[in-house]
């Protein structure tokens, strides 16, 4: 595997390798000197067609901690607003000597197109595309779960993760369902029927419409998803009657927080809508790992950049099997 486009691309062993590598990267981030010389002289381009704070900064930090040069490109204020196509943008980056492209795009499949259209010949890392995939987010979630609930090693066999909220618009949910089940965890999706995608019954996860039942099922981790209002046309978009009703039925409030087992961790990919899908009490409780997820994101992205970029480039695909992850 040369690119990271989807969580589904990762085998069990590859996923564990990324997490193990991330653990070593995280250890280096506790040092006084956090910078490593590993990717010195390489150029990583952050190609962001969609707004993002934490993912872009996280990738930028990860690349800089490995001594790579980082070029930030956002669609706003670039030639894209003059109508430049993805192809022309990609070829411009190629001509500037990019060694890896981190791409976020509002259209599902744009990173796949970028990786396979022959426009560029460097690794492409998907940083979120439409409602499709966000593989590094699922890796950092798996890393966080492993650290808290699986002793920080191996896979997630036997753990039960419940993902709650706007599954329909969530690339985070899609990536997590695939990665977590690859790693041996059991996943339950909880959402109102209007916010579950067509075909969800074919996913390797069980679904429920009732958060209280899911809480009573004693999950090991609860992941609250952001209600993605920007992807819903009018106010609420007709997906639910009102924010208040949503938060009563699907929000993680104090009562549900208290009903969870003591060891259960509360996760959120951010940015949080406090008072909608997650109450302030839950977001700030000791079992919330939201801030730690952000820190782990840097370590996981360092691991992905290392594994895709540090080794011999795939110019000779013949000995591909000897490569660890690329």
């Amino acid at each position: 595997m040369r690119h990271l486009l989807s969580a589904k691309d990762l085998s069990h062993d590859e996923a564990v390798l990324v997490l193990d590598t991330a653990a070593q990267m995280a250890a280096t981030q506790a040092r006084e000197i956090k910078k490593l010389p590993t990717l010195r002289g390489r150029t990583v381009v952050n190609l962001f067609f969609e707004d993002s704070t934490r993912t872009r900064i996280s990738f930028e930090t990860a690349a800089k901690r490995l001594s790579a040069d980082v070029l930030n490109f956002s669609a706003k204020g670039s030639s894209v607003s003059k109508g430049e196509s993805l192809k022309d943008t990609a070829q411009t980056l190629q001509a500037m000597g990019a060694d890896a492209v981190v791409v976020r795009h509002q259209s599902s499949g744009a990173p796949h197109r970028l990786a396979h259209a022959g426009w560029i010949d460097c690794p492409v890392i998907n940083a979120g595309d439409g409602t499709h995939q966000h593989p590094t987010q699922s890796l950092l979630d798996a890393f966080t779960i492993r650290r808290h609930l699986a002793g920080g090693a191996g896979d997630l066999a036997g753990l039960h993760v419940t993902i709650v909220g706007d599954v329909l618009h969530s690339r985070v949910a899609r990536s997590n369902v695939e990665l977590l089940t690859t790693l041996g965890a059991r996943v339950t999706l909880v959402a109102p029927p209007t916010l579950l995608p067509v075909g969800v019954e074919s996913w390797p996860a069980t679904t429920s419409y009732h958060l209280d039942d899911a809480v009573a099922d004693r999950p090991d981790a609860v992941m609250m998803l952001r209600v993605q209002r920007e992807r819903m046309s009018s106010a609420g978009g007709g997906f639910f009657p009102s924010g208040l009703e949503y938060s009563r039925l699907y929000g993680l409030d104090q009562r549900r927080l208290d009903a969870l087992p003591d060891h259960t961790i509360v996760m959120h990919p951010g940015p949080m809508n406090r008072g909608l899908e997650i109450s302030a009490a839950a977001a700030d409780s000791p079992r919330s790992v939201v801030v730690e997820q952000v820190a782990n994101g840097v370590a996981v992205r360092m691991a992905v950049l290392y594994l895709l970029l540090a080794g011999a480039q795939a110019t000779a695909p013949a000995d591909d099997e000897t490569r660890v992850l690329a």
């Binding site: 390798l17 280096t28 000197i33 010389p37 590993t38 540090a310 080794g311 011999a312 000897t322 992850l325």
Partner: protein
């Protein structure tokens, strides 16, 4: 590839046995104590993979000779993967663990331990890695085998055995902790697998 495998056309000659390795590590432990006039401020860092068990054995030997030395308190591991200069020429390497004793390495005498000293590039990477961890008072190098062919101005302070080799030959160090038994083998140029 098994340790005893002799591929057709080449041969694997055992140059050090378990007893030789044991004696060399006892001698090196004494040399380290002699050179540093005791074990004060000594930190022993093994370079993964096989430098690590060697460092543990050396520290145990130091603790056996020198009163007041606790092996676990002075031993650690130093992974140099992310500091190598040849990353782009090889398949992606798995990153090992770095552990430094609780007191750190600032102002200490660090003894780096590796199995084979060859080009010297691993040790250069190790010196860079140390630099990011702190500022030791001095750095010394102990290796089980020095096989020559240096590409950098680096030499070992403590050597188990000097092995003159051809660059086409391959030196394999086997340790009980990683390979099930102790031994140092030289494999011939044509036989040695790859």
């Amino acid at each position: 590839m098994g340790p005893d495998m002799r591929a057709p056309g080449g041969e694997a000659a055992e140059v050090l046995g378990p007893a030789d390795i044991g004696r060399a590590l006892v001698r090196i432990a004494h040399e380290i104590l002699e050179r540093n006039r005791g074990a004060d401020g000594l930190v022993v860092l093994g370079i993964p993979t096989r430098g690590l068990p060697l460092a543990n054995r050396l520290a145990a030997n130091l603790a056996a000779v020198e009163p007041g030395v606790e092996a676990e308190q002075i031993t650690g591991s130093l992974d140099v993967t992310m500091y190598r200069d040849d990353l782009a020429h090889h398949p992606t390497r798995t990153i090992g663990a770095t552990h430094v004793p609780p007191d750190g390495i600032d102002g200490k005498v660090v003894v780096l331990v590796d199995d084979v000293l060859y080009s010297g590039r691993t040790i250069r990477a190790a010196l860079d890695a140390l630099n990011d961890l702190g500022r030791p008072r001095a750095v010394q190098l102990a290796v089980l085998v020095d096989r020559g062919h240096r590409e950098l101005p680096i030499r070992a302070d403590f050597v188990g055995k000097n092995l003159p080799t051809a660059s086409t030959e391959r030196v394999r160090v086997l340790l009980a902790e990683t390979d099930g038994r102790d031994g140092v083998l030289i494999e011939g140029p044509t036989g040695a697998g790859r």
